[in-house]
Every structure is written in structure tokens, then in C-alpha cells.
């Protein structure tokens, strides 16, 4: 209905003619990158932060999952492949998130989804996840337990810092900020977790910054 389009734009142009120029207000100087803030925000949001190192993150996850006895799905990111391999070796119930896995199965049978974050935002305790072929959208959404890996070196001060870092890079299909497990307070302001998506969020914080000597 291009009639509607033209009529709307025409009315807007008419209104635009009579306006004053608005002011500009600069950004405030960015805050410090605080690992403590990052962890505190996530924990307050009911997420678990699991501190690990590049050398032990795989064993840490696999060990924790072994005691869960649940089924895990991985995407084909480098870390996803490593985890798939390690889980197989430990005899865990693990599958690929690929064409073989249909939507209903994902909803009904997968308990744990694994994702990798591109960055973390300290000021809000947020994980930045860019979706794509190796990073499916639903892995961090549908399974009741969502595990997201974040490298310490990618932690930024806040969302503004991330936007600056991105510059003009093309946007992925979904750019997600995840700051806790799914929740709602729609029943008399009482918080409940796992409204629709994950009931639990584990953040694997891989310390790739200061390797112990």
C-alpha cells in the first residue's frame, strides 16, 4: 500500500518544516571494566558464574554435566566442537544442533544448550551473542539449561563500549544481549525463573588474561 506510505511521509514532511533544531548531548565517559560488577550482576540475576581456565573449561563443564545426567546440544563453533568431542568421550548424552534435530525434539528432548559469547558487558552483566550458522538462535533459548562461554579478554565496560568496538561491522541475523535466565514477575510482582526459556544460566568465564605461572 504505497498510498499509505506516501500519505504518512507527506504529513511528516509537513510537520518537519516547522520544527526547531534539537540539541545534542554527548555520551558520558565510559565506566571502568569491572569483573566484580559483571559477576555480581549475573549472580543477582540468578545466573551461575563458573570461573575456569583455557586448559580446564572442558573438563569443568563435562564434570558438572555428568552429575546432571542430561542431554546436551552443541553448535558447530570451534568451542562447540571441542565440547561435543569431550562430552562424547565421557559418555554423555550429546548431539549436534543441525538439520537432523527437529524443532519438536529440541523443545522436548534437549536439556542443555551450549553457546559462545562474543563479548561481555560489565556494567550490566550481559553476554553478547551473535547468531549465525555455527551459533543457532535457539540453543541459548529453548533448552532449560543454557551454558554460555565467555573469554575474560572480551569483557567490555558496557553496551556503549561494545557498540564503539563494532563500528560499522555488518549486523548478524540476531545480536543478543543475555543477562540471566528467563524470568517473569507478572504474578503479583513475585519473581519466577524459567518463564519460557532457560531456567538456569551457567556462564563459563574462561580466564584467558592472566595465566598462572
Amino acid at each position: 500500500m504505497s498510498d499509505a506510505r506516501n500519505a504518512i511521509l507527506q504529513r511528516l514532511r509537513q510537520g518537519q518544516a516547522q520544527q526547531a533544531k534539537p540539541v545534542e548531548v554527548p555520551l558520558r565517559s565510559p565506566s571502568q571494566v569491572s569483573l566484580e560488577d559483571f559477576c555480581e550482576h549475573l549472580q543477582n540475576a540468578h545466573a551461575q558464574v563458573i570461573h575456569c581456565r583455557p586448559s580446564d573449561w572442558l573438563s569443568t563443564v563435562v564434570q558438572r554435566l555428568a552429575s546432571h545426567g542430561t542431554s546436551l546440544a552443541c553448535g558447530r563453533s570451534a568451542e562447540g566442537q571441542q565440547l561435543h568431542q569431550a562430552a562424547l568421550e565421557q559418555g554423555l548424552n550429546v548431539c549436534w544442533y543441525d538439520e537432523q534435530l527437529d524443532k519438536q525434539q529440541l523443545f522436548d528432548q534437549v536439556d542443555v544448550g551450549f553457546s559462545v559469547a562474543q563479548a561481555g558487558l560489565a556494567a550490566t552483566g550481559s553476554l553478547v551473542v551473535e547468531t549465525g550458522p555455527d551459533e543457532p538462535r535457539m540453543l541459548s533459548l529453548v533448552p532449560p539449561l543454557s551454558i554460555v562461554l565467555l573469554r575474560r579478554s572480551t569483557l567490555l565496560a558496557d553496551f556503549n563500549a561494545y557498540v564503539q568496538q563494532r563500528g560499522d561491522a555488518a549486523m548478524p541475523t540476531n545480536l543478543l544481549l543475555i543477562s540471566g535466565p528467563s524470568k517473569t514477575a507478572d504474578i503479583q510482582q513475585t519473581l519466577a525463573y524459567g518463564a519460557h526459556g532457560p531456567k538456569e544460566l551457567w556462564v563459563l568465564l574462561v580466564n584467558d588474561v592472566e595465566e598462572p605461572a
Partner: protein, 510 residues
């Protein structure tokens, strides 16, 4: 959990009664709705409790007031900058969305917007729809429209889902079921919610269990729905991106799981750049629920690409005008369009806290509703709303983008009583609230206060006639005593005390 006096038939009757009471409320005039709500002790408790809670949360998350004021300056500036370029930004947005594979549709009216959504669904043979939260879809009464076309439209935001089950409307733009108690919701879920196997859910008043029951029902729907519909919190022109803010994950579900995603937004929601987004997001979540950030912030820039495993194959955006371009043309009322729909104004409004959302009888309640609704639906139909305000300013003080809400409400009162000829771009129903009685009263008042001698003889008469004052004055004296004029006015006292009127050398203007 065990429940005393468990009686499913009684529960179902109570739920039906709530529905009837709501339907009855809808039929009435604003004053009657307000009165009914004021008399409902439980409702007043719910709203006062909820607004106190939300105010406290907001205060706590903005502990640094200088940061808050700076952010509000930013928020206002970003919104004003965006509006200043609105037609250009909309064209850029359309161009970039289209390049990203998202189809754009324009609607001048609510009816057109609904028709767009319907034709997309019909073209794809979609019969079942899950909806994320969208106030614009409430505004255009989309569910109603689609149901008439035989399309099932299920609300998936927990609050919206409950309100839909109850056959009511949201009473708050962020917390739609804020008016319901846990006990009411427990009865509602047990009486009306249906699992995919057709069974009712067991009765429980435990919030985790209630949410768990709804979760199970809704997850089945996400997996099977033919299409998802969502709102948009911000649209980024230069990247062709739709942004959604939410805590529950139902927004992501609705926009990810079904094969078609239709987003609906008002034309004012566009910003230029990704750089405009972070501070608006921060203002939005902190003002709305006192959260530093919502659980999810989802920026959608394209349908599923080749090689990707999930996400909708089609994404559509319906851009809705429905009176917005008219607001854009009003020099005083244009800031209405700065709104980011955070709900802080209603959380801080003492009138909203007492009468609740349903009393307003409009999609948008509270201060922003009082400003937006008459401009959309006409002052003739919704003009009464603008009188339900003391102009106390609490809303304007809370608004994250500094919309001068009390000023706008006052402007609307002016429009409602205007005698200037109406033009095509005017608010519908301009001048419709002007009643001869009130107009005459103000004319008389102006005469009495315009001329010093007339005014002074009036106050003189008032003080001398104080014993003759009526002891009852309509609404005022129902709960208050009648104020008594003093024996002598200040004018008289000052004169008697020899108080000078003007600096020496300045003439008395009389």
C-alpha cells in the same frame, strides 16, 4: 499444595464474575469506572502495592542522580534528534530492512495495519499465531480482528496470557496483569487454562508452579505455531534492525521458533544508529522495572540466512501511523512521540495508583495514556481523560525522555475547549469538551479578576457574606469541611496597614 475448601465450580464462577465485572466496567463512563475502582479495596491494594514497589525499584537502580539526569538529557536528545529526521529515517529504515530481506508494510490506520497482518498470514496459510508483547497490536485491536478471520492468536507474555485467559485488557503497559492477585490467577489458571492434552492444570497458588504450568502450555504453542507476532522497542534505520526488550524469552520464542515473524510498530520508534540504542535501553529497563538491563535484548536484522539452522524464513515489519503523523504536526503535542513506553509515568501517578489501569478505558493508561489516547481516538470520545489529572508533575519528573506530560495534558485541555476552527491535521474532536456552562463560568471569572475594583468588591462581598456561605458544595464537602472566608481580605488589611502599592515614582496602573 493443599487448598482448603477446594471447590472447582465455585472457582469457575468467581472467574466468570471477574470477567463480567470487567465487561460491565468497560460499558461505563470514565467517572463511573473510576468510582467503581476506588470502591474496590482489593484493587486499590494491588495498585498501591505495585506502584510503591516499582517506584522503590527505580529509585534503587538510579542511585547516582547526576548520572540519571545526564542520561535523561541524552534520552530526550536522542528521541528529539530521531523525530527531527523522522521521515528520512523511516525511508532509510525501509531501504535497509528491505536489503536485509525484511519486508516493510505501511499502515495509516488501525484497520489497514490489521489487514496487512491478516494478508501476510493468509498468504502463508497460517492459522495459529503466538504473540510476544506488543502495545501497538493492542492499540489496533489485532487479536479481535484476527479471531474474526478464524485465526487463533495466543498471547505469550505471562501477563498478557493471563489477561487474555480472563478475557480482559492489560491494566499496565509493562505489567499487564498487575491488577490481579495470586489467588485470582490461581483460580483463573485452574478454571480456564488448558494443557495440550486437553486437561485443566492442577490448582495451585504457588507462583513457581503457576508459571511452570503456563510455561508448559506455551512452549507447546511456540513449537507448533505457524507465525509469531511481536512489537518493536526500537528500530535502527542505518542498519535495518528491529530491537526487542524482554525478560521472559517469549519475545525471542515468538520471533525465532515459528516460520514467519511479523513485527508491528508505531512509526515513531525509529532511531538513526546503533549508537543511539544503549542509553535508551538503559533508561527503558531502569525506568520500567528498576532493572539495570532486561534479561534479553534481541536485535533482529534479517530472516534466516542460508546455512543457518533456525529463525523465521520470513520477517515482516508493519509500520503503523494511526494518528502519529498528526501528532507530529502539533507544535506543542509533538513530544508525545518521544515516548519509549516504559510505564514509569503510570508507576508514579497518584491517580493511576488509586483507580488502576482499567478505569482509563484505553490501551494506554496513566499519564501517557491521557496524552496519547485522546489524540488517537479523539477528544470527543476520550476527552474526559484529560481532566483526571492534578497536574502534580510526578510523571514528568519520572519520564526518562523528559516528556513534559503535565504540560501536554494542559495543552489537551486547551484543545478540548478550543473555539478555533479545526483543520485536517487537528486532533479529532477539538473543542468538543467545551460546555456552555463552564465557558460562562470562566468568562465571569475573568471579568471578576480582570478589573481591580470589581475583584475587590467581590472579595469584599465574599468576606461580608461569610455567614451566608453554603455549608455544602457538591463533591468538595462530601469528605471535607467548607472553607470559610476571612472577615477582611488581604487587600483590605494591607490598605488599612498603609502598605505602599508601588515604588515611589511608579504610577498606580489603575
Amino acid at each position: 499444595m493443599t487448598v482448603q475448601n477446594y471447590d472447582p465450580a465455585l472457582m469457575a464462577a468467581q472467574v466468570d464474575n471477574d470477567e463480567k465485572a470487567f465487561a460491565d466496567l468497560r460499558q461505563r463512563h470514565f467517572k463511573a469506572r473510576a468510582k467503581l475502582s476506588l470502591e474496590n479495596e482489593q484493587l486499590r491494594g494491588s495498585f498501591l502495592g505495585a506502584t510503591d514497589f516499582l517506584q522503590a525499584k527505580r529509585r534503587a537502580v538510579f542511585e547516582d542522580t547526576s548520572e540519571l539526569e545526564h542520561l535523561r538529557d541524552r534520552g530526550e536528545a536522542i528521541r528529539q534528534q530521531s523525530l527531527a529526521q523522522l521521515p528520512d529515517l523511516l525511508e532509510t529504515l525501509e531501504k535497509n530492512l528491505t536489503a536485509n530481506g525484511i519486508q516493510v508494510h505501511w499502515a495509516e490506520t488501525a484497520e489497514q495495519a490489521c489487514a496487512h497482518v491478516h494478508s501476510i498470514l493468509a498468504a502463508n496459510n497460517a492459522r495459529t499465531v503466538v504473540k510476544g508483547k506488543s502495545m501497538v497490536s493492542e492499540e489496533i485491536e489485532l487479536n479481535h480482528y484476527l479471531e474474526k478471520q478464524g485465526i487463533e492468536c495466543l498471547e505469550s507474555d505471562m501477563g498478557e496470557y493471563l489477561v487474555q485467559l480472563a478475557k480482559e485488557m492489560p491494566s499496565h503497559i509493562i505489567m499487564p496483569a498487575i491488577h490481579k492477585t495470586t489467588a485470582q490467577i490461581a483460580r483463573l489458571m485452574h478454571s480456564r487454562a488448558e494443557r495440550s492434552d486437553g486437561q485443566p492444570v492442577p490448582y495451585t497458588e504457588d507462583v513457581d508452579e503457576l508459571i511452570g504450568n503456563a510455561r508448559a502450555i506455551l512452549r507447546d504453542k511456540f513449537a507448533s505455531a505457524d507465525a509469531g507476532i511481536s512489537g518493536v522497542n526500537m528500530a535502527i534505520a542505518n542498519t535495518g534492525t528491529l530491537c526487542l526488550v524482554e525478560n521472559e524469552g517469549n519475545g525471542r520464542m515468538s520471533t525465532t521458533a515459528p516460520p514467519i515473524h511479523i513485527a508491528i510498530t508505531g512509526i515513531e520508534k525509529v532511531v538513526a544508529d546503533l549508537a543511539d540504542v544503549p542509553d535508551l535501553l538503559s533508561l527503558l529497563t531502569r525506568s520500567a522495572t528498576g532493572q539495570h538491563i532486561s534479561t534479553y535484548f534481541n536485535m533482529i536484522s534479517s530472516p534466516r540466512k542460508t546455512g543457518e539452522l533456525d529463525g523465521p524464513e520470513q520477517v515482516h515489519l508493519v509500520l503503523v501511523d494511526n494518528g502519529r503523523s498528526r501528532m507530529f504536526n502539533h507544535p506543542q503535542l509533538k513530544p508525545t512521540l518521544q515516548c519509549i513506553r516504559c510505564g514509569a509515568c503510570m508507576n508514579h501517578c497518584p491517580v493511576y495508583a488509586r483507580i488502576g489501569g482499567h478505569a482509563y478505558g484505553s490501551t494506554y493508561p496513566g499519564p501517557i495514556g491521557q496524552v496519547v489516547t485522546p489524540q488517537m481516538q479523539g477528544l470527543d470520545k476520550q476527552g474526559e481523560l484529560v481532566s483526571a489529572c492534578t497536574l502534580n508533575g510526578a510523571c514528568g519528573e519520572a519520564c526518562p525522555v523528559r516528556i513534559p506530560l503535565p504540560k501536554l495534558i494542559r495543552e489537551l485541555r486547551h484543545e478540548a475547549n478550543s473555539t478555533a476552527p479545526a483543520s485536517e491535521l487537528d486532533i479529532p474532536g477539538k473543542g468538543s469538551q467545551r460546555h456552555l456552562g463552564e465557558a460562562v463560568v470562566w468568562k465571569g471569572w475573568a471579568l471578576a479578576h480582570q478589573y481591580g475594583p470589581v475583584y475587590r468588591s467581590m472579595t469584599w462581598a465574599l468576606s461580608r457574606g461569610r455567614s451566608l456561605m453554603p455549608h455544602r458544595l457538591g463533591a468538595w464537602t462530601a469528605t471535607r469541611t467548607m472553607p470559610m472566608p476571612a472577615e477582611k481580605s488581604l487587600h483590605e488589611l494591607a490598605k488599612a496597614a498603609g502598605i505602599q502599592q508601588q515604588p515611589s515614582g511608579v504610577e498606580d496602573p489603575s
